[in-house]
Amino acid sequence: MLNLNRRDFFKLIGAGSIGTGAGFLLGESMKNPVELLIPYLIPPEDIVPGVATWYNTVCNQCGAGCGVMVKVMEGRAKKIEGNPAHPVNQGKLCPLGQAGLQVLYNPDRLRNPLKRTGERGSGKFQEIPWEEALTTLADRVGGLSGPGASDRVHLLSGRAGGHLDELFSRFMDQLGSRSYLQYEFAHPHNLYLANKLLFDEERLPYYDIKNTQYLLSFGADYLTSWLSPVHHGLSYGHMRQGRPGRRGKFVQVEPRLSLTGANADEWVPAKPGTEGLLALGIAHLMVRNGHYEGDDQDKWSRALDEYTPERVSRQTGVDAQRLASIAEEFARSRPSLAIGGGTAANHTNGVSNLVAFNSLNYLAGNLQKPGGILFNPPSDSPSLLSASPHKSQAPYARLLALMERLSKTKDSLLLLHHCNPLFNLPDTVEIKAAFQNAGMIVSLTNFMDESTMMADLVLPTHSYLESWGDDVPEPGVGFPVAAISQPVVAPLYDTRAAGDILLLLADKIGGDVRNALPWSNMEAYLKSAWKRIYVEKGAVIESSTFESFWKAVLQAGVWGETGSKDAPGVRISGKHLLSQLAYEAPRFAGDQEAYPYILHPFVSQAFHDGRGANLPWMQELPDPTTSVVYGSWVELNPRTAMHLGIREGDLLWVESPTGKIKVPAYLYPAIMPGVVAMPIGQGHSAYGQYAKGRGANPIQILAPLTDVKSGALAWAATRVRITKTGERVEILKTDGTPRELGRNITGKRITMIPIDASPGELASNRVTGPNKG
């Protein structure tokens, strides 16, 4: 172990080039820094008082993989901004990404390894030294590995991109277990499958919102939660006002107006689950009106024959005239683009809906065209750039299988890594029972969340701002991109990076496992992996040595292969589409009589799938469409509410066939009368002081229906009934009056006149308000 004190540490940092991060010294060396004064006479490079050093790294708050730049002053992280050089977010960043500082400095961070002392789930833990924790675990893992380990050793991780994913698979391979899964609630399984069915590509293409002229979005909340919201934000701004004289039109189809929908020119509420039918109705009209010019027109018109405007209008609830105008505009605008996500892609017919949306792109000729769908070219560097965060992601069906194995096998071991299945899976999965039966549960995480409460051993990890890692953004941006995340500050507590923990374990287990994973820490592992890329891509890399390449990538925060060619090998033929086209009606859990409303859960911007709920900034960020803070609510159409005699703040039971939760009512003027909506994210029973005991979690009461084709949880397919509890609470919200009342604040009544600079003209052009003469 390197014996470094704080002063030497900072000196060494100073000797490195600017921006290469504190990280290259970390690992074993910085566990207990000796507090010494910093020599300000000749201050080290990044310790000039009042002068900030910026380090590039990668955001880990959702799966988009934005590059971030962290402002560090005197060894403390002060602010996170987007990395202007990163092609995904180009210097911009969403609220959740900016709140990453509160992951790092959260008062509820786990600081020491913990061993369970009370009953499982009682939350009674005792601090133990790392050595003891790792030895216990290594003994256990060593004993369980070998033939048949797939039944005994399981690793369930949240999203882990790049080489951490690879390290996890290698580690599990060595143990002889194939039970390595990743689970994220919002992972678009259905979208991947639809792409595979249609284009033989199990990757996400690039949706060129930026250059499109007509965007038709079926439920994709692309500005807050769908795929890569910050990148979509950049694209959206450009689509609207970035091209002089051309303003892209945007139509959103969804049962409840989302933030994205609020920005649309037209909002089309269609009955939940029938979005695919609506798309086929549009396709029918496009073909019938001669907008499709391919030579298989006959086949298409036969395949689409049954989706007449009358039928589609009757079943979707969208007016036939409106259907016709959308079809006409979609076909005539060049280029146009249809996308789908959110609840539209997460009914029992999610995949079939997505196929229908893509048929519009095919018919309008939007594939592989700017402003349409562009396929991301795969890299010819096999080591990294073909990595996809999708390959380890488990759909719901596989998680069920895992839980079953846990309940049936004796002496099993479950490793959790930044994953909270107890919060992110419906109650019907009976995870608690499965966990109770597990031989041992070990959680590698930052916070005491619901699942970690059930653990026997808790190994606190570095936050992402203290760890090494890398990431390949998915969806890509049209050319292969990879980014390295580096520690930007010294670790605050006695924690270890997840990768380091695995490598330490491998070392303790010894034998083949150690030989297969010989690296001393994550940084060394990462470097060896990137060395392979350096060798494979040597021709296009300018740096003369690996070290200079590595430093350059760290400094820039990102490396991209801009010179790469177009996507080869993508089959764009109508045949695949035609064979998959048939519409399936959605199924719902619960009988319509007993459960009259369809529950529309939505991934909230601030909390994502619930991970942001322990960040005070996110709790205090008003929900963009309701302005509610600190809590959750269920949205009802005011008419429905009037009918039921419900006022805002009435506590309601929202009851599905599989469970019920108590949540206050909010009257939301832009939701279909048969639908009730709830944000995902609140309702934690653990997860620290800011999250615990606030609101309710709609995932709990979701019925266990899955997509027919993908096996992913159909989280939009639950019916509920609503009953009043008789209690009332105050919903905390920041808005004043929700209407403008003639004050003309948003300028909608302003006629287009140039701004007049002089006060004289100002007076003469005075806008006349309702109270003025």
Partner: protein
């Protein structure tokens, strides 16, 4: 000349066209509502940059929240023909700021850059300025807020942490402006267009917010302000805000 005449005289001068030209800079912002999606990235950016307190659930319940920028949203119409419009609202840095003449201690005044600034040390907490602000842009510190340790590690050392009894509001990130001006002065030049970006502008994913010097006719702000979609909020009050909104189409 009587007192009232002299005040009138000064007032006229103050309101003369071209008055701003005498400033070193005249910082202003253009907010394109056709780009703004209401995502609130600016709100968090501002909170991080300017050490805005975490007021807690009880703070919100008693209306003690402090935000320098917020997204106001307004419904228009009824289901199903309903629209939701967003507008970022922050201190408008009015040329004729109603908050300024009412402060008994000159805690809020116009500085040489045309900014409406708040001097925390002078503020005695009469809250008159907040009462006079038609944009509801000012927040009062009813308490000395604290940060649960170690959340205070994040605090920006370039910005004062305000105490109980002080009014605060958007400064256009004056610390960033100062820094840019210092750098420019060292290099014997003016601040370049785009060199200063307040935190909200920096973070905006759709680039709806643009900041710059209105005295420079070639700046992005000056050019955008000529856009026929431009308007000022509550223009009829003659506050002449430094923020030009471009109306949503």
């Amino acid at each position: 000349m009587s007192d009232s005449d002299s005040i009138k005289e000064k007032w006229k001068k103050y309101r003369n066209p071209g008055y701003q030209d005498k400033f070193d800079y005249s910082w202003g912002m253009v907010i394109d509502l056709d780009r703004c999606t209401g995502c609130e990235a600016c709100v968090t950016a501002c909170q991080a940059e300017n050490n805005l307190p975490i007021v807690g659930e009880e703070g919100f319940r008693s209306g003690r929240e402090i935000k320098w920028i917020r997204i106001e949203r307004y419904w228009d119409g009824e289901y199903p023909d309903i629209k939701l419009r967003f507008i970022p609202m922050l201190c408008q840095h009015c040329d004729n700021a109603p908050c300024e003449p009412v402060c008994p201690v000159y805690a809020t005044y116009h500085n040489q850059d045309g900014l409406n600034v708040q001097v925390y040390n002078r503020c005695i907490g009469t809250r008159s300025c907040a009462a006079y602000c038609p944009y509801d842009a000012r927040s009062f510190n009813w308490f000395s807020f604290t940060w649960d340790k170690p959340l205070d590690e994040q605090l920006n050392p370039d910005v004062t942490v305000r105490e109980k009894g002080v009014m605060e509001k958007c400064t256009f990130c004056i610390q960033r402006i100062r820094q840019a001006k210092d750098t420019a002065k060292d290099q014997n030049r003016r601040v370049r267009d785009g060199e200063v970006q307040p935190a909200c502008v920096q973070s905006c994913p759709t680039q709806a917010l643009v900041f710059g010097d209105r005295n420079d006719p070639d700046s992005a702000v000056s050019k955008l302000a000529q856009n026929p979609r431009g308007y000022q909020v509550l223009k009829e009050l003659n506050t002449n805000p430094s923020i030009i909104y471009l109306k949503n189409l």
